[in-house]
Subunit: 401 residues, 2 copies
């Protein structure tokens, strides 16, 4: 059944159930719901078509039997770059099998039943960061939980890492999430085992905001072992996905989900990652859209830190060792940084005079000879040290204390 | 007694005892021996005077009663920068108490007795790297051991770190030194407890070259607990100092000794260091003269790695996690670096087709719908996967394996 064949009252009712607070443009919202099940995450051809015609217009064109030539012309005209007819033809082939039938109404029915909300980019509350993904951005988001946490994303950090985390990594994930919550940050992650789960857990335990982005529909909590954790995230924060209810997580969708984590948050920190961990993919997305990227070092003897060291060595990730340093990725450095231990002799004379002082009294000449400094320099330095109570003078000369 | 008052035959004999292989210019070598006990390490005014007049000429001028004005004029003329009379006056005040008496003859007597050699910059074998210190460079070096190891310095790395090393740090120091020796590197360090000692020990155990720079005279092994280690370094490598025999190590001299470690080697690696460790001073010297600087990460929960993380975070030290990566600081990267885990869909279609395959046979249309790819793309990808033995086709469609 094409969208045009569905009674608009049915569309309005289905949309109202998942968008109770926003009755505007139900047709456009419905079309985005449809597209979220038609185009795989990150499909930039769909992004371009929707940008050019609106979701509803693009869907109508699809139902009316777009030819590859017409689609290619539209994409070329709107993007200003030549899009090949073959690209358009492949896109149509991708979309058509999924665009038929009443898939979207079924997605919406399940969503409404489960209390899932549909969110679109024009919404008052929308994670603006994902717009930086441009044409690769999400067409819509399906969410469970409170929208309040979306408002906190301008002060958020993604904490991600290996599923096969070590005790060290889990400890750092907990400390980091708790410390960042104390500093007013919301924690974004992917609800996976290991680092992700620890980060969410510590955020919840600290009373902080947290968002989990899933690779499949939010009606199917994944991994199943994190069912109760995800229920708690839903209760205090938010569980979100760009895929409609019923969608399975696939490897492709995990990789694309990672771009949402990187883009929705203000900075990404990889806490533990093997040399080929999926967390490096999240890090790559963060770097690609210019988000600050941090990595936590660990023992070089631990394979679980090898990916972090690689990010620091080869990809300019910032070495972060504490919640403060993670916060600095977003809010800039605090002013308590210490100066480089200088190789310049700024306090050289002080050190040399102190070296020459002992508990036995010495003459200024002796101190000058021992320190290799001039008598005048020794005299003025001894005066300072006396003021500080570090040196004292008696009849037989100068001594420490 | 002034140098001019010492019989040249006595000078020649004293110098021959510490320079048995090089009879050239005994007067200049003697004057450098004198200066090494007159000027504290890193005294750039002495460096400038010696550069202008030669060590012998500068010493003669000192003995003849340089006025501050004449010295200031000499320094200004030779450096091209205005040197204040006060600076010259302070230098003369520093030098004069030490330049009198027969200190140098006594230093040479002790050196000869102990088998110490005197080395000067014009020597055939001289650690050229220290010349990068310019006017702050050593006037002479007093050494124990074989000069062969000096020839290996073009392929050397300084391994330094905290005295208060952890088991982790000592393990890394051992692995690193052994691994670098295997790769043909000489290990330079400071013979201190902790990291330094481990680095020397592992270098010796691996049959590699190693040099220890001391902050006091080489006749007084410091720390005393490393007496037998230093004897072994002397036997297989070299123990060196810019201070004459009998000189005590002072805090100032430790800081200046660090510049020799940084300059004599081709790169410096800090293995473990607290936030204010003296190793950071060595690192600062290395950076100041443009030597590659590496730091080994460790657990962020370990205070003994905090200085290393600080070097990586704030001072652009390279994060190094293995002997190979340390060697890269000197010889450049090897070509086995892996590409960044890409966020681009380079193997996207492959992943999506694989996701859609299972042990149950599926039609190409089904796979296209599940993967969100066009039929044509699915067909070509299935062809590739079949060639690789990952997918197979039967009467009822395609399946994994």
């Amino acid at each position: 059944m094409n969208m045009a064949e569905i009674d608009s009252a049915i569309i309005t009712e289905a949309i109202r159930a998942v968008r109770p607070d926003d009755a505007a443009e139900p047709g456009e919202a419905f079309a985005r719901a449809v597209w979220s099940g038609v185009a795989e995450p990150g499909d930039s051809v769909a992004g371009l078509a929707i940008a050019a015609l609106g979701a509803e217009g693009a869907l109508a064109a699809l139902h009316e039997g777009w030819t590859a030539e017409r689609l290619a012309k539209l994409l070329s005209d709107s993007s200003g770059e030549e899009v090949a007819a073959a690209t358009a033809a492949q896109a149509l082939e991708r979309w058509t099998p999924r665009a038929k039938g009443d898939f979207a109404l079924e997605h919406l029915r399940v969503a409404a039943h489960r209390g899932v909300r549909l969110r679109v980019p024009s919404d008052r509350v929308w994670p603006e960061g994902v717009d930086d993904l441009g044409l690769h951005g999400p067409i819509a988001l399906w969410t469970l939980g409170s929208e309040d946490v979306l408002r906190t994303l301008p002060r958020s950090i993604a904490l991600v890492g290996a599923r096969a985390a070590t005790g060290y990594g889990e400890h750092i994930a907990m400390e980091s999430a708790a410390g960042l919550v104390d500093r007013g940050f919301t924690i974004v992650s992917g609800a996976a085992y290991g680092i992700d789960g620890m980060a969410h857990r510590a955020a919840l335990a600290s009373g902080g905001g947290t968002i989990a982005f899933l690779a499949g529909g939010v009606d199917r909590f994944y991994p199943s072992g994190h069912d109760s954790l995800l229920r708690r995230i839903e209760a205090s924060g938010m569980v979100a996905s760009e895929l409609p209810c019923g969608s399975s997580p696939t490897r492709w969708r995990f990789l694309q989900r990672n771009r949402l984590i990187a883009a929705a948050s203000r900075a990404t920190v990889v806490i533990e990652a093997g040399r080929r961990s999926g967390s490096l993919n999240t890090a790559g997305h963060a770097a690609a859209i210019g988000r600050p990227l941090g990595a936590v070092p660990g023992p070089v003897t631990s394979a679980a830190s090898a990916g972090c060291h690689r990010l620091i060595r080869e990809y300019d990730a910032t070495c972060v060792t504490s919640a403060d340093e993670m916060a600095e990725l977003v809010i800039g450095p605090s002013d308590d940084r210490l100066a480089m231990p200088s190789s310049a002799p700024y306090d050289a004379e002080r050190v040399r005079v102190l070296d020459a002082l002992s508990n036995r009294s010495r003459s200024i000449d002796d101190i000058a000879r021992l320190s290799g400094l001039s008598v005048a320099t020794v005299q003025s330095m001894l005066g300072l040290l006396e003021l500080e109570g570090i040196a004292s003078v008696g009849e037989s000369g100068w001594r420490r204390g």
